[in-house]
Symmetry: C2
Subunit: 105 residues, 2 copies
DNA sequence: ACGCAATACTTCGTGTTATGATGTATTCCG
DNA sequence: CGGAATACATCATAACACGAAGTATTGCGT
């Protein structure tokens, strides 16, 4: 998929991946893989960005002797998902403009 | 609209704006405005990028004593538009993942 | 006649961001 | 014993949208 097209979807995808209960980096990547592939460095960058924006919280816990960071969505994160659905209406308008059958000149 | 979401649409929008006959910068901006706003510096950057990619051609002509650059779409540009429609199917898959009603845990 | 908006295109610097490369460390399985 | 899987982190880089500023002409209102 075109890199540019991905960019606007990555953040909301990650939020969507944790909206039904906490998850962690490695699992998020695997869960999203069938829909949208992303490298690890990209995901951890996004998770930090979303944390900085107050859209998710982190807690560190031990699992099988290894440390894991569990991410939870916040109200602000849910608001972002709702906002995305509004933006999608605009996106569809643009899409229709792009694929419209032209009035050939 | 979210900047990131715009990014993947800008190029194809510009191609779509000239696909039914040549146009020029200022007119493209006005035509796209109801769907997607972009600054002039952004448009001219995109036009140069698309020209470099062989997706459009340029000719300069005088109009009312002023120089105008007219842009025409090429076969490669049309191919990009066709490719976009394929990519859109993937985008819709991602969209469904984002808005799916969750299996609450 | 004067000034301002509209038309039309250009250049430059900046901030955001996705990614590859690389590194660290543990567990599990054959 | 070794390699794959798990799990996260850092750094340098390149792409890109945009605001700011500039140049130059036409058209319109007063």
């Amino acid at each position: 998929m075109d890199i540019q097209l991905k960019r606007g979807l990555l953040d909301v995808c990650v939020l969507a991946a944790i909206k039904d209960g906490e998850s962690y980096g490695y699992r998020i990547i695997k869960e999203m893989k069938p829909y949208l592939e992303m490298s690890e460095s990209t995901l951890y960058t996004i998770l930090k960005r979303l944390e900085g924006a107050g859209m998710l919280t982190v807690r560190t816990a031990e699992h099988d002797g290894r440390l894991r960071k569990y991410y939870n969505i916040t109200n602000r994160g849910r608001a972002r998902l709702a906002e995305f659905q509004e933006e999608w209406k605009e996106i569809m308008t643009v899409y229709r403009f792009v694929i419209r059958e032209g009035n050939k000149q």
